[in-house]
């Protein structure tokens, strides 16, 4: 971890310090005889890229800038909301990345990545030049219909994990038996397409065992959703009549919301919630906008390298980038982080790109603690296009109406994936 003292040590020790006296801005100059890659954002994409870059290119100086000392994963946060796991289960830190891989981890806020001077500008004014930068800013929310910044204190989105996860979990715990849990689910594209439906499933599991007279209403801003058949099969089997899913066309369309009273106006009348989980529509994280990396809501990239199409030497990975058929998932971000790191490690020493790179996504969802379902895909990056290799028979969903053994096995694999994925990113 880097505090002010060790930051200054880097400034004075390994690099030359240039200091603009009139502005008071100090600059962390590029190391001599070394390339430097600065990675902004320490989630699934950014932390993976940092670790793998050091594996592929041990001589490169890798700086990972992440404002938080602890990282809470969205995957498995639904198990915390439903009381199956404590919040510490999804808490991870950067200590091993520092000690084992010699990555310089800085807990600082970044103002922007400035491609015109190949430098990252911190909120505190410090400037960090880079040879290459990787930006993994995740998502931000679009606030509208009465849901504003601050509304999450009353109607949690719990779609960035941590405090929000705990808040929604507590609200659920405090809800009376016979209450109504309402989720507003966003329109596409958004982070983790099956996430809202796994959450509803595990909330139903909690309610069935603790508050069996309660109801769940999903007001969906679209007409269909990821793994829909498999989820609905599981809901029928495990939570008969508890979950009322309303598509945007048939009663789900939200006109406005009052997060304090938890009353939602739909085009089919009012819905009153005891607990309201409002998941707003989404766009790339603010840093991507402030750094000029965005076209519309998301960041266009070169599909073989993940280099931004708008700013040279800056690579965008994870939920913020436009990766064609790849869903905005933690697994995708991990896969993209590895490929971006590999390609950058080759570009830095003038080796040809690995061509074509292959990527993957595997996504498990829990319908109950012992009932797992999955979807997977394999991708190949072509010129200007990431291709889903389903034409080769790759990928697909869990079978419908499979026996209990298969569902139980997939629930176990879901837990196995999480353990190994965390170790692949943070250890």
């Amino acid at each position: 971890m880097i505090n002010r003292r060790s930051f200054n040590k880097i400034l004075l020790g390994t690099t030359a310090l240039s200091f603009a006296a009139c502005t008071g801005i100090s600059e962390l100059s590029l190391p001599k005889n070394k390339k430097r890659v600065v990675i902004v954002g320490g989630g699934f994409g950014g932390a993976t890229a940092a670790k793998y870059l050091k594996r592929f290119s041990p001589d490169t100086e890798v700086i990972l800038i992440e404002q938080n000392k602890d990282y809470y994963t969205c995957p498995f946060s639904n198990t915390v909301i439903a009381g199956m796991n404590k919040i510490d289960y999804i808490k991870h830190d950067y200590k091993t990345l520092e000690s084992k891989y010699n990555i310089i981890v800085m807990h600082e806020k970044v103002k922007k990545v400035d491609g015109t001077i190949n430098s990252v500008i911190l909120e505190n004014g410090k400037i960090i030049p880079y040879t290459k930068a990787i930006v993994a800013p995740g998502i931000d929310f679009k606030y509208d219909k009465g849901y504003e910044q601050g509304s999450e204190a009353y109607a949690p989105h719990a779609y960035k994990a941590g405090e929000q996860t705990v808040l929604l979990s507590e609200q659920l715990k405090n809800m009376k038996d016979g209450g109504t849990f309402v989720m507003v689910a966003p329109n596409n594209p958004f982070r983790c397409p099956p996430g809202p439906y796994e959450r509803v499933s595990l909330v139903a599991h909690y309610l069935k065992h603790n508050k069996p007279n309660s109801k769940i209403v999903i007001l969906d801003q679209k007409n269909k959703f990821s793994k829909q058949g498999l989820f609905q099969e599981g809901w029928d089997k495990l939570y008969k009549d508890m979950i009322d899913w309303r598509s945007v066309e048939f009663g789900g369309k939200v006109i406005s919301v009052n997060p304090k009273t938890k009353v939602i106006k739909t085009d089919d009348g009012e819905v009153r919630a005891d607990v309201l989980n409002y998941i707003p529509e989404q766009k790339a994280g603010k840093l991507a906008f402030d750094s000029g990396l965005v076209d519309g809501d998301w960041c266009p990239i070169n599909t073989k390298t993940f280099e931004s199409k708008l700013v040279k030497n800056v690579y965008v990975i994870g939920d913020a980038c436009i990766a064609g058929p790849m869903p905005k998932s933690g697994f995708s971000a991990n896969s993209q982080g590895k490929i971006a790191a590999l390609q950058i490690s080759r570009i830095l020493v003038n080796l040809p790109l690995v061509n074509p790179p292959k990527l993957a996504n595997t996504c498990y969802s829990l319908v109950s603690p012992n009932y797992g379902i999955s979807v997977a895909a394999v991708y190949e990056a072509h010129e200007n296009e990431i291709v889903d290799l389903k034409s080769l028979g790759a990928g697909g969903l869990s079978p419908s109406y499979a026996d209990e053994g298969i569902r139980m096995q997939e629930a176990e694999y879901a837990v196995g994936w999480y353990k190994n994925q965390m170790s692949d990113i943070f250890r």
């Binding site: 793998y52 697994f331 991990n334 896969s335 590895k338 490929i339 590999l342 690995v354 790179p357 292959k358 990527l359 993957a360 595997t362 999955s374 997977a376 895909a377 394999v378 991708y379 190949e380 290799l389 080769l392 028979g393 790759a394 990928g395 697909g396 869990s398 298969i406 096995q409 997939e410 176990e412 694999y413 837990v415 196995g416 994936w417 353990k419 190994n420 994925q421 170790s423 692949d424 250890r427």
Partner: protein, 98 residues
Amino acid sequence: MKKLGLLLLCLSSLSFAAEYDPVKGEMLSLSCTSCHGTEGKSEAITPYIAGMGKANMYQILLDFKSGKRTETMMQKHVKGFTDEELEQIAYYFSSVKR
């Protein structure tokens, strides 16, 4: 003559196995390690595949692809790779120390 025969034998056996391309092998393995752990060193229920014998692993992957061997997840992934790519993956994991 004996020597020539031996040479021919070596050459012909080489022609059955693709040469290991470490860059490609490692690149392709990156998709596996998200579930099986970095370098295939699983810490969970997902099988530990680091250091598996190359021929054995390659055959298992081919069997998943042909449907001879079934499981909940593997066939969905292996079908996205050519046989040559699966062989490179097997080479890579066999080269990792257990």
